[in-house]
């Protein structure tokens, strides 16, 4: 592996460390703060389950973050992660509440602004909505859960000493669950920006289990989180307990469980598939903020008790942090990218060009996009998405979805299917038929991604997307990921 790649990854590791120091405190903070669980126990259990969650279930939420903006140069990923990590670290140091998710989303938007890319408004809206939904959902889960637990305890009439032991065990189990879901949901924040530029390749163990490049990337990030937990989270854990509202150990347990349920809901591909295959509406897989989930759960319990105990001022400060974090992170990212590009002469983004060639125009007409007014743009080379959309905007009006579609179709790619590269692919994640289809295209060159996709579709039905509905969503998403992989593999002059 290239040494510079490792250097660039360090910012992701720094971000992982910040997440470990800051967000892991949400999971075990109340337990350690109330001295129900020792810090060492919390740190060991937390680290193990964060690593497991990241590696085994981390892929779901990474996808949405990838959609928000595909940072396509390693130096850009480096700076986005560094900007987010700096924001999180500085705010943690200043003892201001902070969310890693918001910092990273801010940084990606900063990169988009700098590189002239367009922020995918659908993905952004989805993320912003979940930021609101996440604490609300946590509150909605925590309140009845708290009532139920309280009722059960009154009925069970446990001695307070036995209850103490059960609560400790429950706190550790909930912490393990919380750490797993934190790893699954938030690893995308740490390593998500590196996914499009990942330096790792898949390898298969003797037993047939494939350890994908993304999993390797996530393992590295998870280890950084674990280091953050061990080195810096103790201080945060001890202050997190009494911040919003004094909590009893049992209320603390309810908070951790509700937080974990919410994070799992927003990270579980299995659940999405289950809901979709039963015709139920799915929950978007988005990295949500564990801080917000905890705050939501605490408020839920607080309101249940009449809201007298809640320190609303603290809540106000926390909400302010939710607005300022992405803004600060975006600004830091933008300014640093400028410095990195112009002072250190690093390539922080790969220019993506757009053009309306005759093929593209025909394809747009086929998709019934209104292109009549765009004739004079034909064969013109546009050097960024922003420039391209601005030119379109002068001539006609397109809706958000239409803009997305036209960007996808007009993007110029440089894809050469060489026998040499196809030979390196093994039938595993890609099926044998899918690889055969690629073999049959060897020697050909494509200048748009969709042209390659269409060529593949024509050869093998295993490259064809299923009709768009909820049931097929997971399959189609997999197929998209595979196509992304093919585009990355066969792009010339990366």
């Amino acid at each position: 592996m290239d040494f510079t790649v490792l250097i660039f990854l360090t910012s992701g590791l720094f971000l992982g460390w910040s997440l470990g120091a800051n967000d892991a405190a949400n999971v075990f903070g109340t337990a350690v703060g109330t001295r129900m669980v020792q810090f060492t126990t919390a740190a060991i259990v937390g680290s193990i389950f964060i690593v497991l969650g990241s590696v085994l279930s981390g892929a779901g939420a990474a996808h949405t973050l990838g959609k928000l903006g595909s940072i396509n140069a390693l130096a850009g990923s480096f700076m986005a992660a560094l900007a987010a990590a700096t924001t999180v670290y500085a705010m943690t140091k200043l003892e201001l509440p902070v969310s890693t998710s918001q910092a990273i989303v801010g940084a990606i938007i900063g990169w988009n602004l700098f590189s002239g890319s367009v922020t995918d408004l659908n993905a952004l809206t989805k993320i912003l909505l979940t930021w609101v939904a996440c604490p609300v959902l946590a509150a909605v889960i925590a309140a009845p859960l708290y009532l139920g637990v309280e009722k059960y305890l009154r009925w069970a009439k446990l001695h307070i000493l036995s209850r103490d032991v059960y609560t400790r065990i429950a706190l550790i189990l909930a912490g393990a669950f919380g750490s797993y879901s934190l790893g699954a949901n938030n690893i995308a924040n740490v390593m998500g920006v590196f996914v499009p530029a990942s330096p790792f390749t898949d390898f298969t163990f003797a037993g047939g289990y494939t350890f994908t490049g993304i999993q390797q990337l996530f393992l590295l990030g998870a280890l950084a989180i674990a280091v953050g937990v061990f080195t810096y989270s103790k201080r945060v854990m001890l202050t997190v307990g009494g911040g919003l509202m004094p909590l009893s150990p049992i209320a603390a347990w309810v908070v951790v469980i509700s937080h974990s349920i919410v994070l799992t809901l927003f990270a579980s591909e299995g659940l999405e598939h289950f809901l979709a295959s039963n015709g139920l509406p799915t929950i978007p897989l988005v990295p949500v903020s564990s801080s917000q989930a905890v705050v939501g759960a605490v408020i839920g319990i607080g309101l249940l008790k009449g809201g007298r105990n809640v320190r609303w001022r603290v809540l106000g400060n926390i909400s302010m942090g939710w607005v300022t974090t992405p803004v600060i992170s975006a600004i830091i990212c933008f300014v640093s990218l400028f410095v990195l590009q112009n002072v250190f002469n690093q390539k922080v983004y790969t220019e993506v060009h757009f053009t309306l060639s005759s093929d593209v125009m025909d394809h747009l007409v086929e998709r019934s996009l209104p292109v009549e007014d765009l004739a004079e743009m034909r064969d013109e080379d546009y050097r960024s998405a922003r420039e391209f959309l601005a030119a379109i905007g002068e001539r006609t009006y397109l809706t958000g979805y239409q803009q997305e579609e036209i960007l996808e179709i007009a993007e110029i790619a440089d894809l050469a299917i060489t026998a040499e590269l196809v030979g390196t692919l093994e039938a595993d994640w890609l099926t044998q038929n899918q690889i055969t289809a690629l073999w049959r295209l060897s020697g050909q060159h494509f200048d748009t991604k969709w042209a390659l996709a269409e060529a593949l579709e024509a050869i093998s039905e295993e490259w064809r997307a299923l009709p768009r509905d909820l049931k097929n969503k997971t399959y189609n998403k997999q197929l998209e990921a595979k196509l992304d992989f093919v585009y990355r593999t066969f792009t010339v002059n990366q």
Binding site: M36, I160, L161, S162, D164, V165, K305
Partner: protein, 220 residues
């Protein structure tokens, strides 16, 4: 390994629960012994029976002192019930004081040997009974605090009731004593013993007041 540790944790907890119960059993026993000793004194003065009870109460008191120290140490060493530890320790301290009062009163009887005229025996007995009933209810309230928090209030109400009964009996008794023709020093001596017998119910009331606050804190 983990299983063994978990079992050990449960084992330790169960033992501590048992020790809490034992501690409270001794106070109940102390109440019964005090009443028995007091009746015996009224009936026979300082007798073998009475002396036997004196030594039994002393043993109870010293056993409970040891138990209290053990419980305190365990709660701190094993960092058990961190959120309630302070309240539980104050409760234990308060309950321990009651056994001390019983022991001190029995010693006073033994040393000062007050001459209690027969016409006051009935009220003295009633006062001792109300005071010990008050302590018994406090023990029930304390046990409920550990296992069934909803029942604490019911027992607390009984503590208040018996305390006020003891108060009434003591007032009636002292009024009768000071209305009598006994010499003043005798009257003062009898008043002193009436106050001492009543002490345990006053102490029980104080502990019950605190317990009500701990209970409120636990349910928030």
């Amino acid at each position: 390994m983990l299983k063994v540790k978990k079992l050990a944790l449960f084992g330790k907890t169960k033992r501590l629960e048992y020790e809490f119960n034992e501690f409270m059993d001794r106070i109940i026993e102390g109440s019964l012994l005090f009443e028995k000793a007091f009746k015996s004194y009224l009936r026979d003065g300082i007798s073998d029976d009475f002396n036997e009870v004196v030594s039994e109460i002393s043993q109870l008191e010293s056993a409970n002192d040891d138990q209290k120290k053990k419980i305190e140490t365990r709660l701190y060493e094993q960092t058990l019930i961190p959120d309630l530890r302070g309240d539980v320790l104050s409760l234990i301290e308060g309950l321990d004081g009651i056994l001390n009062i019983y022991q001190a009163n029995i010693f006073r009887l033994s040393i000062e040997r007050p001459d209690i005229p027969a016409e006051y025996h009935r009220d003295f007995k009633a006062l001792a009974k109300a005071s010990t009933a008050c302590v018994d209810s406090l023990i029930m309230a304390s046990r409920a605090f550990f296992t069934n928090i909803d029942a604490v209030r019911d027992h607390d109400v009984k503590v208040m009731f018996y305390e006020s009964e003891a108060d009434k009996i003591s007032t009636r008794l002292k009024t009768a004593i000071f209305a009598s023709d006994l010499p003043l020093d005798h009257k003062i001596h009898l008043r002193y013993f009436s106050d001492r017998v009543e002490d345990s119910s006053n102490r029980a009331e104080d502990v019950a007041d605190n317990l009500a606050i701990y209970t409120l804190k636990r349910s928030i």
